[in-house]
């Protein structure tokens, strides 16, 4: 490989054998004249003969670093601003040790090694499964899948396979993105019906639910807290309604809330899924997502997981334990059985990170975290409702960290408000105007343990000014 500038033959640092000296030797050992001969099974007409239009390489690391950092510097991250964005990706505190562990070369670069030489990875993932299991109080948790949305979609398909039914009821207050994922994953094999919410409380409309359940229903899926913020307090009634028809309850949760809010198993949920990102994983521009699925330890559930399940086992040495894949061997096929989905690389490193996070937090950390988040978000709601024209929260229900702020009483659109907030170095809540048109000019605000009183006061102050100003700047 010729380095044009220096006109010296040298290898690229990532490709040791790009040195022409070594190549000659290796070709000789193989018994061919040139590299081209190694491609003789590719027909000539398929070979690309053009020039790849890629930028000139930055072979020196210093140049590369400068270049990439230059592009990244065009970002303004949430540390520079105060952000109230949530909606499936949230800004929580990431303990230093979480980064320390998931940046370890062994964990970062391992892949599909066996239970003996990659033992640490297996144990770390078993521990993550076990720690999440304590949050949700269920005995089976999977190796993570891509995101909450995928976990929800798979949970729903699992419920369909278990009940051998093809219809699913889904709350209309779940995240629109997750609904889109579920639709693409389930249709055309599974039919989806949406269940309305009570416009006052934001919780599920139980009458509407009851009118839609039938012998065809496989399951209901709702999120708790819902995407719009309210905590569903009628879980037991929903479970009752569905269990009477032998249908299943699937609930999606934010695990950060489970230090103070009861896990869905307490109101008889059958399958629980959720997002691991709040548990010690940076937002990463939406790249820090990982979904988990939890169920009771019964064969009918375990055999339906498409993901890997790591189990503990003995080794051939007494007293030593190791880990391996729990292998549920299917021995008999049931008629009308539906496909088992697929499994592949997903988000294991984030699973390990979540395990580290929960180990650090412990029971009282999670409890305190839940409490402090609720206190802060209630403080924020109080301040915002004091602004004329603003109603916070929109729904009359208990909330956790996210709540809808209703701006219909002001003369501004959410878009105008958010644009003005930028000049105060604030990212306002997610604009819901298009996503949930019935709410009018509303936004989804998220408050976490990282929002100090000072930053919440700043938000209230800025909003007050903007709304009183009345005109877009």
């Amino acid at each position: 490989m010729l380095n044009e500038r220096s006109k010296r033959k040298c290898a690229h640092p990532y490709i040791p054998n790009s040195s022409p000296y070594i190549q000659k030797e290796m070709l000789r050992e193989i018994g061919v004249e040139s590299m081209d001969q190694l491609y003789s099974s590719i027909p000539d007409e398929l070979k690309f003969k053009g020039v790849l239009n890629l930028p000139d390489p930055l072979q020196s690391e210093a140049d590369l670093k400068r270049h990439v950092e230059g592009i990244l510097s065009k970002n303004r991250e949430c540390d520079d601003y105060v952000s109230f964005l949530g909606g499936g990706c949230w800004q929580h505190y990431v303990p230093a040790i979480c980064d320390e562990i998931n940046r370890r070369s062994e964990f970062l670069t391992a892949y599909a090694g066996e239970p003996w030489e990659d033992h640490g990875r297996w144990q770390a993932l078993f521990e993550y499964q076990s720690l999440v299991a304590e949050l949700v109080e269920m005995d089976v948790v999977n190796v993570p899948t891509y995101s909450w949305g995928q976990a929800a979609a798979t949970s729903i398909r699992m419920a369909c396979r278990i009940t051998k039914r093809d219809e699913v009821l889904i709350s209309d207050t779940i995240s629109p993105e997750r609904l889109a994922i579920i639709r693409n994953y389930c249709e055309p094999v599974v039919k989806i019906l949406l269940v309305k919410h009570d416009p006052e409380t934001g919780m599920m409309d139980l009458d509407d639910l009851n009118s839609k359940i039938s012998e065809e229903t496989a399951a209901v899926y709702f999120e708790n807290p819902s995407y719009l913020g309210p905590i569903e307090t009628h879980g037991a009634e929903i479970s009752d309604a569905l269990h009477r028809f032998d249908a299943l309850i699937v609930v999606g949760v934010d695990p950060i809330s489970l230090g103070v809010i009861v896990p869905p198993s307490r109101y008889d949920a059958d399958i629980v899924c959720g997002e691991l990102q709040p548990l010690g994983i940076h937002m990463n521009f939406g790249g820090g997502l990982a979904g988990f699925i939890a169920t009771p330890d019964e064969e009918k559930f375990v055999m339906e997981y498409p993901s890997r399940l790591f189990g503990i086992t003995k080794t051939i040495v007494d007293g030593e334990y190791g880990f391996g894949d729990v292998a549920f061997e299917r021995t008999s096929f049931e008629r009308r059985e539906k496909a088992k989905e697929f499994v592949g690389t997903a988000a294991a490193l984030w699973g390990i990170t979540a395990g580290v996070y929960l180990s650090l937090m412990g029971p009282y950390g999670m409890q305190m975290l839940g409490k402090t988040i609720m206190q802060r978000s209630q403080y924020a709601m109080k301040l915002l409702s004091e602004i004329p024209g603003v109603v916070a929260p929109r729904f009359k229900a208990p909330h956790f960290k996210e709540f809808v702020v209703d701006f219909n009483g002001t003369s501004l659109s959410v878009d105008e408000i958010n644009r003005n907030l930028l000049s105060y170095n604030i990212f306002g809540g997610i604009d819901l105007t298009d996503k949930f048109p019935e709410l009018g000019a509303s936004a989804l605000y998220c408050v976490t343990e990282l929002h100090t009183k000072e930053s919440l006061d700043r938000l209230a102050h800025a909003l007050k000014k903007i709304i009183e100003g009345g005109i877009a700047k």
Partner: protein
């Protein structure tokens, strides 16, 4: 403590060494001995037992007297439990059958036997699929699927099975060879029965695929798929084999495992029919044939379903032939094609080509069928 049974057919393989094709029958045996043949089945047993020495103290070795296993076991430093008795100096098929039956009563966890197809047939006659067995090949005629490729592999497989490291057990074909044809250099087999053998699928952990499925599961999938697509208009000729007969099981019908049955409107119309009976049943009617490959070479026609004769096949039509096969069967064939040997070379040629083989629920494999290759 696990129980391991061992039965040796002492004269297996003697014929081959001196150019004879097998040792069935007194005359052939006499001839072999005259030609100087020495029994080597015992050596094969010892090769296998060597692999099991690691388990000497954790497994109870049960065997028959003298040449039928006791000698080999002792010379490999095992302390076997010797059961039964021999009627005379020469051993016969009856001895093999009696030994197998006695071991069945004792409930051995694995029965190792040394011999050829004939020995396998004797074992099958005695115990059918009531025990897990494994054949150590020592014969000229070793075509049944119940044999490991050699004694060393057999011993290793036995060890893993007894240690619990492999657990899957499948039905393996026991074949019957046409003796006359065989001595004339031609191979013509017939499906005789099935024995249960352990298999090593080779599942390491770190698997990137979803949960493993047993052979039985695969067969059930196939049956479900066939039943989903079955039409009341047709008469279905169901060929022999464990894969095809699951269809009959699902319909709760009586059937013949090794013979040809016909069903119509999901009811049994005829069981274990011969060519004439089949033709009578389907004459003037719409019919389909459901067959599965038999034997390690994957014969669709000609190795155990000769009742489905060229006349029958022509009456039904090539397009109405449905091939079913488990995935493992297709993958383990010694060739990359299935074979046909109907008896009519012209028909064989017409039947060759590519077929959609039913391999699971809503799953097909495109597989080639060719006319017979000289064995």
């Amino acid at each position: 403590m696990k129980k391991l049974g061992l039965i040796i057919n002492p004269i297996a393989g003697m014929g081959g060494r001196v150019g004879l094709k097998g040792t069935d029958g007194e005359e052939t045996l006499k001839m072999a001995l005259k030609l100087g043949a020495k029994p080597w089945a015992e050596d094969r047993a010892k090769e296998a037992l060597k692999q099991l020495l690691l388990l000497k103290d954790r497994v109870e070795l049960i065997t028959y007297p003298k040449k039928m296993g006791e000698n080999a076991s002792l010379s490999c430093s095992f302390t076997p439990k010797v059961i039964g008795e021999l009627k005379g100096e020469k051993t016969t098929a009856e001895d093999t059958k009696r030994a197998a039956d006695e071991m069945r009563v004792l409930g051995v966890d694995l029965l190792l036997f040394v011999g050829g197809d004939g020995t396998a047939r004797d074992i099958y006659d005695a115990i059918d699929r009531s025990l897990v067995v494994l054949g150590i090949p020592a014969g000229v005629k070793v075509f049944s699927a119940v044999f490991a490729v050699n004694p060393v592999v057999a011993g290793e497989l036995a060890r893993l099975f007894l240690m619990g490291e492999i657990r899957e057990v499948v039905d393996a074909e026991v074949l019957d060879i046409d003796e006359e044809l065989f001595r004339r250099g031609k191979l013509s087999t017939r499906l005789y029965g099935y024995l249960k053998i352990p298999v090593k699928r080779g599942y390491t952990s770190g698997s990137k695929s979803t949960t493993p499925m047993s052979e039985r599961y695969n067969k059930e999938e196939i049956a479900a798929e066939i039943l989903d697509e079955m039409s009341d208009e047709y008469y279905y000729i169901i060929g022999p084999g464990t894969t095809t007969k699951v269809i009959m099981e699902f319909l709760n019908l009586d059937y013949s495992l090794l013979g040809v049955d016909i069903i119509h409107k999901k009811k049994l119309v005829g069981k274990d029919l011969n060519e004439k009976e089949i033709l009578e049943t389907i004459r003037g009617r719409k019919a389909k044939i459901i067959v599965t490959p038999i034997g390690g070479q994957g014969y669709l026609f000609g190795r155990g379903n000769q009742q489905i004769s060229p006349k029958v096949i022509r009456e039904v039509g090539k397009d109405n032939i449905i091939i079913v096969s488990t995935r493992n069967k297709l993958r383990s064939l010694s060739r990359r094609t299935l074979l046909v040997d109907t008896g009519s070379e012209i028909l064989d040629k017409e039947l060759s080509g590519y077929y959609r083989v039913v391999t699971g629920y809503r799953e097909r494999a495109i597989f080639k069928v060719s006319n017979r290759v000289e064995d």
